[in-house]
Symmetry: C2
Subunit: 356 residues, 2 copies
């Protein structure tokens, strides 16, 4: 096989056309756009405008691009959103939401409103929540909308009443349409569908700005950042994101991404459901469309699978070390042909390695 397909959970593979554009830009100086210059500000605004149009972000939401990944947001969210009450509720659906929760505990009274840690296997589903699970005086409720380690995704938007819902959408933003108005804050690492590893995007409802604690580092202050102060990503990363947004819009936007991603994911899930060699060890209704976790049920066989797949040009299929098994991340840059190649390898591997 001459082509390589990269199934990494992050950074995602680059979209080939975007790479060529960025290389052109680097070669002719465009990626060197000076911080603070008119050209930089225009690039920032255009990138935000592209994202706004693509996702359908209402006008009362600000868009912020920040250096660093989603882990920056684990502390930025509580430092920006906790008010004098300093109280927030977290829904725990995996390791990432646990990390976010642990970080938030440095800054206030953080409660776990619901958790699927007790599921078997651990985190193989997302918690079912109801409005009464959340404290009425919480400053916000935090969820991780898609859990790339376990291959699960919220199949519903929790009813949090009037509380601001904050969602880590790192591994799912741009994979399908989302009703932004249901959320107070959406944030996502640039390393997946956004296609700009090293930065993250924050989409925040305007009325939530301005509550940051006095000692918040300036580079994490959403209000300052939304006003163009405090720091910003280099032009190189903004250009990468902008090209991805443009290309995504040009092929049909998020409805088309949803159609493509469902088609890719179903290719694998349908195979799991009809053949028993591989299984997706999670609750069916919470299946992620972007991170497909599966196992053979034999850890040694799983390792053999990952190694042989790599030799066939199907790379980064190893599951997260904390759960083992395999994981195929099917972000927007993964073509249907890549999933077909994986399926074909899976069939071949299952025939060559019969289980007893």
């Amino acid at each position: 096989m001459d082509v390589t397909y990269n199934f990494s959970a992050g950074p995602a593979a680059f979209i080939p056309g975007v790479v060529a554009d960025i290389c052109d830009a680097m070669t002719c100086g465009g990626a060197e756009t000076e911080y603070g210059s008119d050209a930089y500000r225009a690039l920032y605004t255009e990138t935000a405008d592209e994202l706004r149009a693509l996702v359908g972000i209402p006008q009362n939401y600000r868009i912020i691009f920040m250096p660093g990944g989603s882990s920056v947001q684990y502390s930025a969210v509580p430092m920006n959103l906790l008010t004098a009450r300093r109280c927030a509720d977290y829904v725990i659906s995996g390791k990432l939401s646990k990390s976010a929760c642990l970080e938030a505990k440095k800054y206030g009274d953080i409660a776990i409103a619901a958790s699927s840690a007790g599921a078997n296997p651990v985190f193989s589903t997302v918690p079912e929540t109801k409005r009464a699970d959340f404290r009425p005086d919480a400053d916000y409720v935090h969820i991780c909308f898609n859990n790339p380690i376990y291959g699960t995704k919220f199949h519903y938007i929790p009813d949090v009443g009037n509380l601001p819902l904050v969602a880590d959408m790192t591994a799912c933003l741009l994979s399908e349409p989302v009703d932004v108005s249901k959320f107070g804050v959406i944030y996502a690492d640039g390393m997946t569908n956004i296609g700009a590893p090293g930065m993250s995007v924050v989409i925040i409802r305007e009325d939530l700005l301005g509550n940051a604690r006095a000692d918040i580092p300036a580079h994490m202050n959403y209000k300052l950042l939304s006003e163009g102060e405090g720091g910003c990503p280099p032009a190189l990363l903004l250009m990468m994101a902008k090209r991805v947004f443009e290309k995504t819009a040009s092929v049909g936007g998020l409805e088309e991404m949803k159609r493509r991603n469902e088609r890719k994911a179903c290719l694998l899930y349908d195979y799991f459901d009809t053949m028993s060699y591989y299984t997706a060890p999670i609750d069916r209704k919470c299946r992620s469309m972007t991170n497909i976790v599966f196992v053979t049920g034999d850890a040694a066989l799983d390792r053999k699978f990952v190694t042989e797949a790599r030799e066939c040009g199907l790379t980064n299929l190893m599951g997260d070390p904390s759960v083992g098994g395999m994981r195929a991340s099917l972000y927007n840059s993964m073509p249907y042909e890549g999933v077909e190649a994986l399926l074909s390898f899976m069939r071949k591997f299952s025939m060559e390695n019969p289980k007893f």
Copy 2:
């Protein structure tokens, strides 16, 4: 003129060979190296080892690569280094050191040990300091070693006794040899000589790790970061830095960079000293080798200069808005020919625009 020379203070122009290598890496998947993978860890370690060899960083210093620019360090330094005493001294030599100082004041008892704000023009020199200027119980002393806005640079290393000296070397690291052992911490934004905008490097003496305040965001905790936890830059940016370090070493290292940078800077400074049309409005002994600030003495003429230079392919020569005039940043990626082209334009401009 077909060639364009970019004199921006940041991000610096990319080194052409590095751009080609990075584009190759992006095209064939190298820049997608998965976070946390063996390949990523190897890349991180190799990049650090290259920097250690290039700069001659002693073994008792750790090297950390972090997402974000130098402004992240403005808060990271006090959050990591202030101990129970919570007291540090800042030397103010320009707008950037003022920003660093202002940020630090959120976290402790911060004193201004010395300042050149009163110079005429403002910040046209760096403060002369003596050991008695610093509080003996300060946790550290902070300086900005090169001030890109004013075109000044410390011509000496302040004597701080046993106190750890923390230096922002954003616009000068890699431009000449530096005795790291004289410093407790050196940090630099990746956007200048390091050639990786969007990340910064921190070089820290091991004994200074472990004093971070309890509520420091994990992604800013030097100790965690030095142990591979808390966050890291994308492979793309590490690869850019690594290639720059390799290329710099391959042409002769920092001694050669110093020779080249002095030769470039002298071309301009010698011209200022022999002709009176342009002047560098700063103290001679503090002249920066990397950021050459100059004026005609007539603000309208300065603007005309910047505009006409741009039309001739000499870009980003406008001085910082706070000081006006012109600024030519001569980072390692700026070839001698670029400075010759600038000088040639300067001569022509002075003849076409006589002053009375």
